[in-house]
Symmetry: C2
Subunit: 211 residues, 2 copies
Amino acid sequence: MQTPRTQQRQTPDTRRKSLIDATIACLKSGGLEAASVRKVSARAGVSVGLINHHFSNHEALIAAAYAEIAEALFAVSWDAAQAAGNNPRDQLRGFVRGALSLGTTDTESLKIWIAFWTMNERSALIKQVHDESNREHRKKIEHLLQRLQQERGVKAFDMRLAAIGLSAMLDGLWLEMCLDPHTFSVDEAVQMCDSWIEGICRGTFQVTSDA
Amino acid sequence: MQTPRTQQRQTPDTRRKSLIDATIACLKSGGLEAASVRKVSARAGVSVGLINHHFSNHEALIAAAYAEIAEALFAVSWDAAQAAGNNPRDQLRGFVRGALSLGTTDTESLKIWIAFWTMNERSALIKQVHDESNREHRKKIEHLLQRLQQERGVKAFDMRLAAIGLSAMLDGLWLEMCLDPHTFSVDEAVQMCDSWIEGICRGTFQVTSDA
DNA sequence: GCAGCAATTGAACAGGTGTTCAATAGTTGC
DNA sequence: GCAACTATTGAACACCTGTTCAATTGCTGC
């Protein structure tokens, strides 16, 4: 009944990959509502039905895109940390700068993450991806903080809370940068995170907290 | 052509208010997609067309809800600050605790804010509401920090950046609490913000930054 | 060369969306 | 009591959504 012109038959893996890429491109351009099955399939140069052939759900497609994006962001931050030197303090600074660098704090990135957050409450699959990526992210920060503590010989501090705090500040700064890029500069953001780390080094954040 | 049974004629102001309330309820229950004109009108016990009679747009309806929610959240934080005593340090703590208190860090609140963020890129109207509310929020934090500086006689620090940093940390903690309430407790969150303030008091965050 | 398998198609379906607009009906002023 | 005004209605419109499925095709093993 149909008359398909040029059918490019692909390996399932290859096709999945290209569909995920198209999904990411759509999400960047206009968030969740720009990543409908029709728009994604159009972008991938493929028919509507193919998506449901390779992914059980629209939800599963978005989740796959989520996993890829989260991994990429983590890689950028981690590479920046490694490239910043051996000093754990410098590495932390590099990590922060990487996370807030160009390409991650633009409108496009925000649209993607908002899309994921939107689905987070509705989809157990998305929630799972979020938890996994978050745990990995914080574990790295904790690792760097631990090395900082050892090498600088600072007083003991609550490692878990310090990591959570830095992670939260990073997220908050990132969010505000995306929502309104004029509020502060990248350098100022890095400086603020650095102040937090400096505070830790000076023993602000000790285990036995007495306010 | 229609046969409306009981038509409750209302003042435009009253009707607008009840439509905004219904919108907020819908947003809480299921985010943006649960706040369609049909669902909102159903919740308000009113016909579809009435929304477009009182609001020029669906967008305008959401923006009105945004303004109301933002004001309410600010009032909660500010009241908590006032109730915490006269000491600026205590007031800051109160402010933070208020912002992270029950009723603001649940799934419902997150759904609302995600909805606003989603529209932030598309709608100039929403963007306007966001900027206004953000400015007000940070101005209050800055004011409290200024009093802290004066009364405690701490070294001069960059007021603007300190306020932005605290605001960002607050936002980041709030976001993570909403996404996963098990990561840390409210008390721990308050403690983290307090550590930031403590760091400021100890001169971590001076104007002339030398890392 | 041909059979079997699976990648691919697109029409069809049931349902949703925001906006428009003629028709209806409460309310107010005279 | 009646006219003018306007809050309110809901059907209609054009368009979008995710999923399904028979039909079509390209590839692989034999």
